[in-house]
């Protein structure tokens, strides 16, 4: 074990959530983290707080206040008008120094992924990225679960002797919190020392990315897996998606073969999706894939292997040959559409 002095875990209490923003609104990953945090906090009866760093955030603050968090620490300053890693970390660290939370949860947005390792390193503590499950031990150890490298293996990770325990979670992995019936949030407005607001980063130009239609936004998604023997056969998923007004997704394997672009990849290292309906075609359902779509409302899986892992998470499991099923399905849908 480490030769650090033994950590006094009881000195670190509660869960702190980094409230990610998207423009003037709260990024929905935050509500998913609140949902999970409230669950984790229950057995230990500890507090859930949020930290909000930015400028002119009254409407974001109002959004956040609708949830059952105890406190929101607000760092509102002109210096935070744009996201600058160095000074955001200063605010984050100052809050952690004061609050001493046992757990810090950060959404894996670009900015989250940028600051999480900085803050964790500042506290010489551990960070597990892209957790797919989180549970709490009685001794306040956070059990951090995520798929391990390759194959169908999960890793159970613990930060046994350091605090806070940091974890990032991707959007669409955990269920959102429900809004509170009687929210009673304490707003704590925090000031950071001037020297902590000096950034080595200067932003000279900002440009919004043109929003390409992204599979993460699709209500209906048809996904192709290794059941397809040739790139030429992919027309089946393209057409099915087309007649259903949906989009096409792919597993990692087909992206690595060059049959699809990374933009179509569903999974932990691809995109996380939460469509109303997802139809997986010839997808075996590795843990990395499942992590990216497990929360879809209706999962319909078609695979010729009755033991395919995807069937353990699908709402409807159909064991059959996609080469027979898909063309017939497309025909039937076209007839129905034509009949109307």
């Amino acid at each position: 074990m480490n030769s650090h002095e033994a950590i006094h875990k009881e000195q670190w209490q509660g869960i702190l959530i980094y409230a990610a923003q998207e423009g003037k609104k709260i990024h929905p990953i935050t509500f998913e983290l609140i949902g999970k945090a409230l669950e984790l906090a229950k057995p230990l009866s500890c507090k859930v707080s949020c930290i909000l760093i930015g400028h002119e955030m009254e409407s974001a603050l109002k959004e956040l206040s609708a949830y059952d968090v105890e406190r929101i620490f607000v760092y509102d300053h002109e210096a935070f008008r744009d996201f600058k890693e160095d000074i955001v970390c200063n605010a984050f660290a100052a809050c952690i120094d004061t609050l001493k939370p046992s757990v810090v949860l950060i959404g894996a947005t670009d900015s989250g992924k940028s600051i999480a390792p900085s803050v964790a390193t500042r506290f010489h503590s551990g960070l597990t990225a892209d957790c797919t499950e989180l549970t709490m031990q009685e001794n306040s150890d956070l059990v951090q679960i995520r798929p391990a490298f390759g194959g169908n293996i999960m890793a159970r990770i613990i930060t046994a002797n350091h605090r806070p325990q940091f974890a990032t979670v991707r959007y669409g992995i955990m269920a959102e919190a429900t809004k509170s019936d009687s929210p009673h949030v304490e707003i704590v407005r925090c000031i950071l020392e001037e020297n902590q607001l000096v950034s080595a980063i200067e932003i000279t130009l900002r440009k919004e990315m043109t929003r390409k239609s992204c599979i993460s936004e699709a209500a209906v998604l048809v996904v192709a897996g290794q059941g397809f023997k040739s790139k030429d056969d992919l027309w089946m998923v393209e057409e099915l998606a087309s007649v259903l007004n949906g989009q096409v997704g792919s597993t990692r394997a087909l992206v690595e073969k060059g049959w699809f672009s990374q933009e179509n990849q569903v999974g932990l290292s691809g995109k996380t999706v939460k469509p109303d309906v997802i139809i997986t075609c010839g997808v075996s359902g590795s843990v990395q894939f499942a992590a990216g779509m497990r929360l879809a409302k209706n999962i319909i899986a078609i695979n010729s292997d009755p033991k395919a892992p995807i069937f353990s998470i699908a709402h409807q499991s159909l064991c059959g040959d996609i080469y027979e099923i898909l063309p017939k399905l497309i025909q039937r849908i076209k007839s129905l559409n034509a009949g109307q």
Partner: protein, 262 residues
């Protein structure tokens, strides 16, 4: 201008064994390659070197065989290679890895710019770059898509973050985490490869890291540890429907109607 680039050798394919007791990858004996994200970082370093007459150093932490990865970098045009290798470094999580790389960088530098790939295809955490910056107490910029230029002590670049492109000036020394799409890595050249064979890769073991905190190295220095690995429960959620494809198609039509997709 001194530029460092951190690289890692990763398994060439997705299927690699894990040690179920220690929860770490069994790297010996598997086919390896340079992490593709790091090749982009190397290209970024080389372009800066060419433009500003800089000196580039590739650094990696790994088994002795990771020397090959450094030779590949030299064959692409990198000037020097540093290999941090020692049994005590093994089994490191992000904290211990970044601490060790930082120790190597401090003793090979000082560097004006340290470039890292966005993540690796094995660990996939994407944390080491920002962690190194924190250990060094210097700023980092995440997801750099374009390098614009250097003026005095500032480097201008473009960052893509949360659906925005930001044009930024950052003070050096700094760490840059490069987006995979930012550059297309050049291929090694035979001429450079032959020249590389004559170059010495600097090897650093724990004895070369004088002054480093030994308790922050390797498995012992890792705040996180893998408690166990396991195969997830594969029990079926619902009954698996079988039958003739016509019956299954009927079923699918029914489902799609129920879910109001058609």
């Amino acid at each position: 201008m001194k530029i460092a680039v951190c690289i890692k050798q990763v398994p060439a394919f997705s299927e690699v064994m894990m040690d179920p007791v220690k929860g770490i990858l069994l790297r010996e004996g598997t086919s390896v390659r340079i992490n593709p994200y790091d090749l982009t970082a190397v290209e970024a370093a080389l372009q800066l070197k060419e433009r500003y007459n800089g000196l580039t150093t590739a650094i990696t932490m790994g088994p002795k065989s990771a020397k090959e990865a450094l030779i590949t970098c030299l064959s692409m045009g990198v000037d020097e290679g540093v290999l941090l290798t020692d049994p005590i470094f093994a089994g490191a999580d992000v904290y211990a890895t970044s601490y060790t790389l930082t120790a190597g960088l401090s003793r090979s530098g000082p560097f004006d710019i340290i470039i890292c790939g966005k993540k690796t295809t094995d660990g996939d955490t994407g944390q080491v770059g920002p962690a190194i910056a924190e250990h060094l107490g210097i700023p980092h910029v995440y997801n750099v898509t374009h390098l614009d230029g250097v003026e005095g002590r500032f480097i201008s670049l473009t960052q893509m973050i949360d659906s925005q492109y930001l044009t930024i000036k950052v003070r050096m020394p700094c760490v840059l985490v490069i987006s995979k799409e930012a550059f297309i890595p050049r291929l090694p050249s035979l001429k450079l490869k032959l020249a590389a064979k004559k170059k010495e890769i600097r090897i650093m073991t724990v004895d070369d890291l004088e002054g480093a905190n030994l308790s922050k190295l390797g498995m012992e220095g890792s705040p996180t540890h893998v408690d166990r690995i396991y195969t997830p429960d594969r029990s079926l959620k619902e009954q698996v429907l079988t039958g003739h494809s016509d019956e299954l198609v009927d079923r699918l039509i029914g489902l799609l109607k129920d879910h109001k997709v058609i």
